[in-house]
């Protein structure tokens, strides 16, 4: 039974993986069945390249949304676009989007009346309009550099914390970060109406568009790549009209995100070597909350 017993003499009885029996093998005996219960990569998912590309579309379009928003802000700041133009366009887009949203969610029972929707929109607009003079002067005492740095940080935080997993609405952290950045940027615009227009635009881009996109993905899956692609193109073209080199950079970033990263993931998946066996901690698969609710 010892570590050094005569392993040479092969006993007639086969080895068993039990401890309660004294077996005629040394303690350090290694049977042929050693590690036979080892399983490799049992929970590894095989990804197809195009499926991953489709999913990364969400990340790319969110990046383009941010670029688009910054372009609009830039136009406003330079005075190339008036606040009224932006407001009317925004209104048009939101009516269009709302109709589309309603049309796609036809089968779903509504919990809210349309009147309630209209009411919240009105309250929101009224408050933003009322407070826009305050928001306009909010960051007056802060230097412009600081405001820009803060907005940049917040937009990066928005991109990092956006819940990309399906299905999801804009998470509170990402939405708050985006709105904070919008308030900072909007306060640097020339007039109060500008501020109001910019904030409404931010709500449209960061709060309402992801909802519509999610519904698109949910009910009419084929439209999603088109929608994401369109946003990407708009983003690149928009940046291009102001800063061609930036547009090139954005384009490259989008290509890397949508085409190269998935390729890398699929390629590296091959090298995955995950081992499982009886030593793994068992996972509780039951839904135990039913016993307490």
């Amino acid at each position: 039974m010892g570590a050094d017993s005569d392993a040479g003499a092969s006993p007639a009885v086969p080895w068993r993986k039990v401890l309660y029996e004294r077996q005629p093998f040394p303690d350090n005996y290694v049977d042929r069945r050693f590690l036979e219960e080892l399983r490799r990569n049992i929970r590894v998912r095989r990804y197809s390249y195009w499926a991953v590309v489709r999913e990364t579309g969400l990340v790319s379009q969110q990046l383009s949304c941010v670029a688009l928003f910054l372009t609009l802000w830039s136009y406003m700041e330079q005075g190339n676009v008036g606040p009224l133009t932006l407001l009317w366009t925004g209104l048009g887009c939101s009516v269009l989007g709302y109709t589309l949203y309603e049309a796609l969610g036809g089968g779903i029972d509504r919990e809210r009346t349309r009147c309630a929707d209209l009411q919240s929109a009105a309250v929101f607009m009224a408050f933003t309009f009322g407070f826009s003079p305050v928001l306009k002067t909010l960051t007056e005492s802060v230097s412009t550099d600081t405001v820009y740095a803060m907005s940049a940080g917040m937009l990066i935080a928005h991109l990092a914390s956006f819940p990309y997993t399906q299905p999801s609405l804009p998470g509170s952290l990402s939405l708050n970060a985006a709105l904070f950045a919008s308030v900072c940027l909007a306060s640097r615009l020339p007039g109060t109406l500008h501020t109001f227009a910019m904030l409404s635009c931010a709500l449209l881009v960061f709060a309402l568009w992801p909802c519509l996109l999610q519904r698109l993905r949910h009910t009419a899956e084929w439209t999603f790549p088109w929608a994401a692609g369109m946003v990407c193109v708009c983003g690149v073209v928009g940046v291009g009209t102001l800063w061609p080199a930036g547009a090139l950079l954005l384009f490259l970033a989008l290509v890397i995100l949508t085409l190269v990263c998935p390729l890398l993931l699929v390629r590296l998946q091959r090298h995955k070597d995950n081992i499982h066996g009886p030593w793994d901690e068992a996972e509780i698969s039951d839904d135990l909350s039913r016993f307490l609710s």
Partner: protein
Amino acid sequence: MGQRKRVNVQSPVPCPSETQPFSPHTHSSTEIPHHTHAFNTSGHHGYLQSGKHSICMVSDFFYPNMGGVESHIYQLSQCLIEKGHKVVIATHAYGERRGVRYLNNGLKVYYLPLQVMYNQSTATTCFHSLPLLRCVFVRERITVVHAHSSFSAMAHDALFHAKTMGLNTVFTDHSLFGFADLSSVLTNKLLTVSLCDTNHIVCVSYTSKENTVLRAALNPDIVSVIPNAVDPTDFTPDPSCRDSSKITIVVVSRLVYRKGIDLLGGIIPELCAKHPDLCFLIGGEGPKRLVLEEVREKYQLHDRVRLLGALDHKDVRDVLVQGHIFLNTSLTEAFCMAIVEGASCGLQVVSTRVGGIPEVLPDELVTLCEPTVSSLCVGLEKVIARQRAGKVPSPAAIHRQVQTLYTWRNVAERTEKVYDHACRQPVLPLPARLRRLRSHCGAVAGSIFSFVAVINFLFLLFLQWLFPNHLIDVAVDASGPGGRWGRGFGKEESKDPIVARCAVEDTRRLKC
């Protein structure tokens, strides 16, 4: 809870020094030099020639902490002393318990003043414990360092230092570990580094061996499987304690996630609804107690689910004998002592089929289920039905069957062979050790730890220059071939006046 340790088992000799006060400065070199001359006759070579070893067990986990590792170290040490080996234990200080203490039969315990970091494990810097541990190893003329538990930083430190000092090393792994998350990747790398030049490794079950071999990338031939044991005289059945009007399911376990207490929270309402004469007796404490209390509240089961709270080890048997069925819902377990204790008390055992549990008891003594509520309920109902029909063997019969399965004497016998084997292995000299580290642990980790090993070696040389080995006093052997325990050690009325005086001085210095 199921594996709480006992301190006064197996040895009729009372524990004389357990309660005596003692000073924190213990292994200092303030002892009178004539000890050295009086007892220096058996050096390293003396031990090897007599076929006996001078063993130092090192682990962060020891009494007064409770658990499977602590119990294992204590019982194994006692049986090794019985076989004539010298055993000392090194652990970190537990609160006021610092310095040197003697347990039964001259089992000497060094409670070293090392800083505890997390979960009773000490911090590791790879170096700071070298002076203290070197002192212990030299003073006690250690030939084999036996480290326990991969969670113990002190055990890994001791292995590292022992190899630097050229001592033979053995390591016992008591737990299972996954491979999936970042923390396990890091710990497994450290284990690889720690075990790549260790002479022999012991695991408590075959599953544990597979796990350790994979984690540390070892050659399976240097890993032995020696199960834990349970003292059958501690866990004797007593059917008269049972309430025969109902069926009692006993659970004795820490109430934590890994013990599957969430599953238990699902089983209780399910079974209580079906069997009006069923009740649960749950011993143990932990964060998951809340789950059980919530279940009890929601289903109004206060009279049928009794939560006993934390149990002392001596009370575990008295709780076990009140039940008919022992239930274990662990999600992972290297070797489950609790189910052996339950079976030893004559209970029908129902357990999850995880880790090394299927290896522990023969099929007629245990009902194994998948770790789901439904599977455990099916298993329990089968046993309940058998119990009602009276088709179960008597508790005494089960006890008779279990009592011979796992004994500490057998464990000690097998561990002794591991020591013999380890002592015949060469301890790698520094250049070979560096080569092994680099070839075995990958380029980055290997190079880093080669560097650490070199620094450790230089630090040892510095210490040897500062306090040369021959100036460190050799301690009086309490156990082992020249053991003085019970032969005037600590007693005034010894025959040999010099021995008596030295022994008394030694004990006084170490303990008072």
